[in-house]
Structures are given as structure tokens and as C-alpha cells.
């Protein structure tokens, strides 16, 4: 058990965050976008845990738990919405329906 340098930990978080963002931006399928969102949130969680490790305090992990709570809520509601969307439009293409614009 050795201490991990903070910059490496945060670097991992940053990489995951950026990848998640790339996923949200690149993918058109709503399901993939939701997954990528999870990656982003997870990256934030990683950052919290890394920070918590630095200060040797429980706060980081607690924030991670809260993030987890939020992620779970988001996924549950999000998936329900995606189902609704698919039921109505028979597609998961995020670009397929954009009545709201202008």
C-alpha cells in the first residue's frame, strides 16, 4: 500500500472525464450518451476519492457516495425517458427529433 501521487489520480479522473465528454459529444445514440454521462460522473467520483485520499478524510468517499446516488437516479429516470422516447419515435437517435428549436 503506497500512496498514489495526487497528480496521477487527478490525471486519471481528468482523462475519464474528457473521454466521457467525448462520448456524449460523439455518439448519437441516446443510450451511449447516457453511458458516457455515467463515465463523466464516475470521473468526478474518482476525483473526489483521490482528493479524499490526499487529505486522509472520509469526505471524499462521502461525496463519491452522493455522486453515486445521483448517478443512479439519473440513470433510472434517464432510461425511463429513453424508453418513452423510443416508444414514441422508434429511434434512439438524439438528432432524429428536434422539434424544439429556433
Amino acid at each position: 500500500m503506497t500512496a498514489i501521487p495526487l497528480d496521477q489520480g487527478l490525471g486519471l479522473a481528468a482523462a475519464l472525464f474528457a473521454l466521457g465528454l467525448a462520448g456524449v459529444l460523439v455518439r448519437r445514440n441516446l443510450l451511449f450518451m447516457l453511458m458516457s454521462l455515467e463515465v463523466m460522473l464516475n470521473a468526478a467520483g474518482v476525483a473526489f476519492v483521490v482528493a479524499g485520499a490526499r487529505w486522509a478524510a472520509a469526505d471524499g468517499q462521502i461525496m463519491f457516495i452522493l455522486v453515486l446516488t445521483f448517478a443512479a437516479s439519473e440513470v433510472s429516470v434517464g432510461l425511463a425517458l429513453i424508453l418513452l422516447m423510443h416508444r414514441r419515435n422508434s429511434t434512439l437517435d438524439a438528432d432524429a427529433s428536434y422539434h424544439l428549436r429556433g
Binding site: 465528454l21 456524449v24 459529444l25 448519437r28 450518451m33 438524439a94 438528432d95 428536434y98 422539434h99 424544439l100 428549436r101 429556433g102
Partner: protein
Amino acid sequence: MHELLWLVPTLPLLGSVILMLGAGRLSIRAEAAAGALSVGFAAVIAFTIAGGFLLSPPAGAAYEQTLWRWFDVGGLSVTIGLRLDPLSLVMMLVITGVGFLIHLFATEFMEGEEGYGRFFAYLNLFVAAMLLLVLGDNFLTLYTGWEGVGLCSYLLIGFWWRDPANGLAARKAFIVTRIGDTALLIGLLLIASRLGTLNIAGAMHNAAQSWPAGSPLATLAAFLLLGGAVGKSAQLPLQTWLPDAMAGPTPVSALIHAATMVTAGVYLIARTHALFLLAPAAQYTVGGIGAATLLLAGFSALAQNDIKRILAYSTMSQIGYMFLALGVGAWGAAMFHLLTHAFFKALLFLSAGAVTMRLHHEQDIFKMGGLARRLPVAFWSFLIGSAALAALPLVTAGFYSKEAILSGAWADGSSGRVLWAAGVFGAFITGLYIFRAVFIAFFGEAHTEVSGRYGWRVILPLTVLSVLSVLGGLIELPPAFGHVTLLSNLLAPVLPATKEAASVVPLLVASLAGLLGIGLAAVLYWRPARPPAETPLWRFWHAAAGFDWLYGRLLVRPVLWAAREGADDVIDSVYDAIAWTARTLHEQVRRTQSGRVRFYTAGLAIGSISLIAIAMIR
């Protein structure tokens, strides 16, 4: 008796108001009565006052009557007040007397015209304004009358409003004179600012006190007043409106554009002669303008066929004489000529009107002919008027007044001699052009039907004016003829004495020049064949040396062009451009609202990345 002075301008004003309010409700007779009698009563009062004035002149030879305080602001107090002194007395008598005669004539002349009451309303208003002009004790009252007569002139020139040409002539008259009026107004501003008062007598007094002779301010002020005078009196360079003003009914031409209003410039300069004495340059200019105008107008009159236009140019020419007189310091002579000119020019216009009213308003002299026998009343009147105009020696009033001017010019040193020469040449031309008209119109073959008879309201004014045109000169005779100086004596308290030529030579030469002109006219036009050929020279003088053309190119067209092109307000296009920019920006930014969620996310990311960059760079 003097206390009734305020009634003199008020009565015509009252007549005018009655006629305006009663428009459409009064009978023709009532309208005629209101129109003519209001001026008639004013004349009666004026003559009564004049009698009183002559018998027992008030102290200082001036009677002042303050009606009410107009305003008193910031140290400048202006009253509406009247001042009767010999100068204004003469003017008042001319205006009311000749005015009444012309009103009387007009009641018959205008019968059957649409807007009979309106005509007299305007004409009465004119008389009131003209009286205010000459009686006003301060410049602002004078200016009020000045503008008032301009307005009435406008209204009356355009009296027959259905014809746009009349409207154009009326507007031209108003706007051209307004240019002069504006100069006058600036002059008033200068006087009020520098001399601290607008009271005419006070200002003249202060000017003499505070401005040395020849000082730039005095010169400037004199030139500005001169600007007003040339506009109103149709002198160079603002003379172009007068011939067109003949579009109005003939009594209007007689009253406004011959006997009274156009002489207001002469009155103004005479009234402010103290200022002109301080500004020799301005005074020379007055004389020069007079000489130039009298020649220009004389030549132009030679090239006209319309009888009223001939008379219009002759008016310009005669006022040129008056200016010439003012320029050489022959103040009294100028006023004398103003007086006699009022008689014989009114006579000429009225008799011309009497002719045309029987010829279905035909004004071309070449379409008349042989009228001497068929319209004897008009013929004799016109002939007497023409003789007076041409200064037929000894028997006409015009002779004496013109001789007074020329003698004054002769006596005024070397520059005066030049002006004298111009005046003499002018006398020759005058004789030529007026008798050209007489011979062509009244002799030879008849070209037009004549109908109707004259009533007493035409004959009476013609008779009275004829008598005055003949005998009016006797109030002032040169030394060679007994040296009567009634007018000079009267005017002595207000105007400096006129220098007179000691020699008889100039008098003889001038008389001969006039006779020569008449003689030449007899030779040339005794048997007129047909209208003159339209040679370039003729066209040049017919168009009065092309001033209209010049002004049209220089001023009127550019303004019209600018008004037409600018009507949509170029400044507004700046704001339109701003509005357009906003709308365009809106269209552009609105495209970002594509409705695509990934695009929005990209926006979010870009924003955040930029913010982070700002935070990191700082």
C-alpha cells in the same frame, strides 16, 4: 384729436376682422361697405389728425401714443406704440387717401368675383398693416407691419387661388421679400443688442452717440436694413418678384405693388437716415442700387407687352429714382417722389384696370389698340398718368419730383453726377416705354371688343388721382419756378435739408431727355404693326436680364433637389442600419438554437473550456 390716432390702423383691421368672421354670411353690399368705408373712415380721421398736426404741431414735431407694453424681457422693453411725425404723417395720408380711392375703385372692379368679401378682408388687413408699418414707433412694430404687408401681398397676389401660377407668384413674392426681411431682422438684432433699444428714435439717437461715422457696426447695420429695403421695394438684387406679383387683381397692384408697400423700403431708409449718414458706404450703395435698378427696369419695361408688367417695371424704375435720391442725401426729394409716384402710379394702374375690365381681362397691349375713342375716361386717365410718369415738364407732378431728385444728385459732387446721368438717361427711357404703351394701346386699330360702362366708383378715383397727378407737384417747386417748399418745410424736423442744384442746366437737360423719349416713342409706335420680333436682346430684356434664370439655377433648383432627394431623411437610414444589424445578428445567433442536444453540449463544453482557460491564464 391726436388721441384718435390708434383708430387709423384699427378701423381697417376691424373691417378685416368683420369680413373674415362674416365670411359667407354678409351680402355683397355689406362687404363692399365694410371694406371701403372702414378705410374711408380711417382716411377721414387721418386727414383730421393731419389738419390738427399742421395747424398746431406738437412739441418736437412728433406725437407718440403708446397702446400697450408688448413685452419687457431681460432689459429690452418693447411697446406697441404709434408715433406721428411729419414723415409718418405723409405716409399715413398717402396710405389712407390713395388706399380709400383704390378700395372704392375695387368695389366696382371686383364685382362678380368669387371671394368678394375675402378680397376686402385681405385688402383692409393690408391697409392696417401698412399703417402699422409707418406709424410704429419702434422697429419691432415696424417689422410687424412689414411682415403683415408681406403676408397680405402674398394673399392678394394669390387671390385667384385656383390657378397654381398665381400661387407660385405669390409664394415667390413672399419668399424673395422674406430674404430681405431676414436681413432686416438680423439688423434689428444688431441694433437691439448694440444700441439697447428697438425704439426707432432712441436707436437713432444712440447710434449717433455711440457709433462714429463710418464705423463698421454702423455700416453693417445700415446694410442689413438696406437688405430689408431692397426686398420690399423690389430693387436689385431682390427685384424679381415684382413683375410676377401682377398676378393679383389690378387694384392690388395699384395699392400694394405701386402706391404703398413697395415704397416701404424708401420709407425705412428715410426713417433711419441717421444711421445711413453714419455709413457712407451704405448710402452710396443705396444710390448705386437705385440707379442700376432704374435703368434695368426701364430697359425691361421696353421689352414687355403686358400692360401691367410694363407698369410693374416702371414701378421698380421709379423706386430706383427714390433710392437714388436717398443715396445722394436728397431725403425730401425721395419722399416727394414717393408721394407723386403714389398718385400717378395708382392712377396708371387703375386706368389700366379700367381698360382691362372692359376687355375681358386682356392685358396684352398689342391686342388692344384704338382705345382712345372707345374708352375716353380710361384713356385720359392713363395719358395723364403716363405724362406724370414721363415727367412731362411743368404740367405734371412727376416732373417736379423727378427734377428735385436729379437736382439733388447734381448737387452731390462727382459721384452724384454719375447718378444724375443715369437718372437722365432713365428719364429718356421712361418717356419711351410708357408712351410706347400709350400709342400701342390707345391708338391705331382696335383688336378687341369693348363692353360695359363705368360706374361712379371707377370714375371718381380716376378723376381725383388725375387731378393729384397734375397738381400734386405744386407743393414743392424748384427755385427756378418760385421755390415753393411746403413739403420740405413739413419734413424739416425729421429729415435733413436737401441740397439743390443752383444751375438750371441740369433741369433743362433732364426735361429734354424725357421729351426726347416721348418723341421717339411717337416716331416708333404711332402706327404699331405687330408685336416686336423676339431677338436675343429682346428676350434678354423681356426676362429682365435673366435674374430669374440665374436664381433658379443657383438657389431654387439646388434646394428643390435637396428637398426631393432628402425627403426620406438620410439620417434615418443610420438607425435603419442599426435595426438591420440587430435583426441580422438575431438571425445569426438564432441558428445556434438548432435543437440538437449534442450541439448544445458542445456549447456547454466550449464555454467551460474557455472559462477554465480564463481562470488558468489570468
